[in-house]
């Protein structure tokens, strides 16, 4: 399938940064300066909220003003670099790989990539490891599993693999949806209906863990990569619309862990 990158919907024209004549900023630097302005705007609400509650409601100034200022500068600089890096690496890479899979014409390779991306980024996620350890502890206290450390560790590890497998499966289902052009709402609404039904039958200890596991799976690096994959696929396949078909992969990734974890809880009992 021939594909012309020129056909990709481009960025809307942005206002040029005015600079004294004779001075030309390198493009990387220009992007950073623009992103820094955006970052400061993005952080303004949280700084306002904290200052308001700290000074007006609690009536006290923070102890170590310099440390806080340094921390805020770190946050602004970090957000700036992250956004610049997105545009330079994660977005173009994800989209060009999606396009490469379409041109290769091998759905198997694409689905393997989708699974690896979902599984690989989730299985090592620190937030997930923490939640699984807590869940195993809670399960042991509730008497669902044996109380010895080996059994607890095994339960935590199994839970982690269940969630990672769920996210891998989610990206695969989401990619199949893009390839086939299925409308998203039947799958998602059906999925949530299943979650509701399973909530009734699953053991109570596992339900809150299952609900939380849906929220911890999508990290800051995974989200842009997965979004770029979806949008890249939808723009490379004839008849697909990037808005209508490209988005939705993240929605699957937050839905399937709930179903899989509750299923695991029902089977393990």
């Amino acid at each position: 399938m021939a594909f012309n990158f020129q056909l990709l919907p481009g960025l809307p024209p942005r206002p040029r940064l005015r600079m004294p004549s004779g001075f030309r900023m390198p493009p990387v630097l220009r992007n950073l300066v623009r992103a820094l302005g955006d970052s400061i705007r993005d952080l303004a609400p949280i700084i306002t909220v904290i200052a308001f509650f700290q000074i007006l409601v609690l009536g006290q100034a923070p102890d170590d003003f310099l440390t806080i200022l340094a921390g805020l500068l770190c946050v602004a600089a970090g957000l700036t670099l992250f956004v610049a890096g997105l545009e330079m690496a994660l977005f173009p890479l994800g989209e060009s790989m999606a396009n490469g899979f379409v041109r290769k014409g091998s759905p198997t390779a694409l689905l393997a990539f989708a699974f690896a991306l979902g599984f690989g980024t989730t299985v090592a996620e620190p937030a997930l490891i923490a939640v699984c350890a807590e869940a195993a502890q809670a399960a042991a206290e509730a008497g669902v599993i044996a109380g010895d450390p080996a059994a607890i560790a095994r339960y935590a590890l199994e839970l982690r693999y269940v969630v990672a497998f769920a996210v891998g499966t989610a990206i695969v289902i989401g990619v199949i949806r893009i390839l086939m052009g299925w409308p998203i709402h039947w799958l998602i609404i059906g999925g949530y209906a299943l979650v509701v039904v399973m909530t009734v039958f699953a053991p109570r200890e596992i339900v809150s863990i299952a609900y939380d596991s849906g929220a911890v799976t999508t990290s800051t690096i995974t989200v842009p990569m997965v979004t770029a994959l979806g949008v890249g696929l939808a723009s490379s396949i004839r008849g697909r619309n990037p808005m209508l078909d490209g988005f939705g992969l993240i929605a699957f990734a937050s839905l399937t862990p709930m179903i899989f974890v509750m299923g695991y809880g029902m089977v393990a009992n």
Binding site: P45, L81, L86, M88, A116, V223
Partner: protein
């Protein structure tokens, strides 16, 4: 924790986060697709920017925002339990306002949401407003967190709220502009991440530990789960409102 230790542990954690993605990309790009990168230097610089950016962002949050936010949550809860601001609804007034404000402001700073909203603005050719979308998500999260706090204070069962939320989502899905539906579903998943989770979890656990008759293990969790359906509702409502305004603008009529 001192700066060196914090920097090292954050850098290590972020690299461990990035490693699987880099491995998957390398294997599929070079072994399966067998293509070279179009612009390797640029992509490599971008990856370094992403890693450095996340590390700086997390260090900054850990030194400036999280300690202040957690401390404030504790103090506000202590004031409310002591009944400083009066009884009844008013007693927890500042906590509701704090929950709403923290939900809104942390979502506006959430890097994943900035990424997805930016992409949506680009793809739609500007017809999806990036800032408007992010504000819609942030308002949804703020509403969800506030309701979640209300639930913890009164000890109401979580699943009725969540199920009711998703019923509203189903009704809106049937009537909202179709092109916005997948984006709205996605925004439910990206709302809760690096900035929001630690602060909101501290508020929920602190509140469940302090309000008499609540159990942190049963009532403390689930604030995060509230954010997703309300973010979806809010984005769909934003899409419905935009479509309504556009329709009204086209027909040229204004309601008297």
């Amino acid at each position: 924790m001192d700066w060196a230790e914090l920097t090292f542990s954050t850098l290590f954690g972020t690299l461990r986060d990035v490693l699987p993605i880099v491995l998957v990309v390398i294997v599929f790009q070079f072994l399966v697709l067998r293509r070279s990168l179009a612009n390797p230097a640029r992509v490599l610089t971008g990856f370094v920017f992403v890693v450095l950016g996340i590390v700086l962002f997390l260090i900054g949050l850990e030194t400036a925002i999280f300690p202040l936010g957690r401390g404030m949550a504790e103090q506000l809860i202590a004031q409310a339990i002591a009944g400083v601001d009066g009884q009844g609804w008013l007693r927890y007034g500042w906590i509701y306002l704090f929950a709403f404000a923290i939900g809104f402001s942390t979502t506006m700073a959430e890097p994943s949401l900035i990424a997805v909203a930016g992409k949506a603005g680009e793809i739609s050719g500007g017809s999806v407003g990036v800032l408007g979308l992010r504000m819609a998500v942030a308002l949804g999260v703020a509403t969800g967190i506030t309701l979640g706090v209300y639930r913890i204070i009164y000890g109401l069962p979580i699943h009725w709220f969540i199920i009711a939320g998703y019923i509203v989502v189903v009704i809106q899905t049937a009537t909202a502009p179709r092109k916005m539906v997948p984006l709205a579903y996605d925004s439910g998943g990206v709302t809760t991440s690096t900035v929001t989770v630690p602060l909101v979890a501290a508020l929920g656990l602190g509140l469940a530990g302090a309000v008499p008759g609540r159990n942190p293990l049963i009532d403390g969790f689930g604030l995060i789960a509230f954010a997703a359906p309300f973010a979806i509702i809010s984005v769909l409502a934003y899409a419905q409102l935009s479509a309504y305004m556009a329709r009204k603008g086209r027909t040229g009529g204004s309601r008297k």
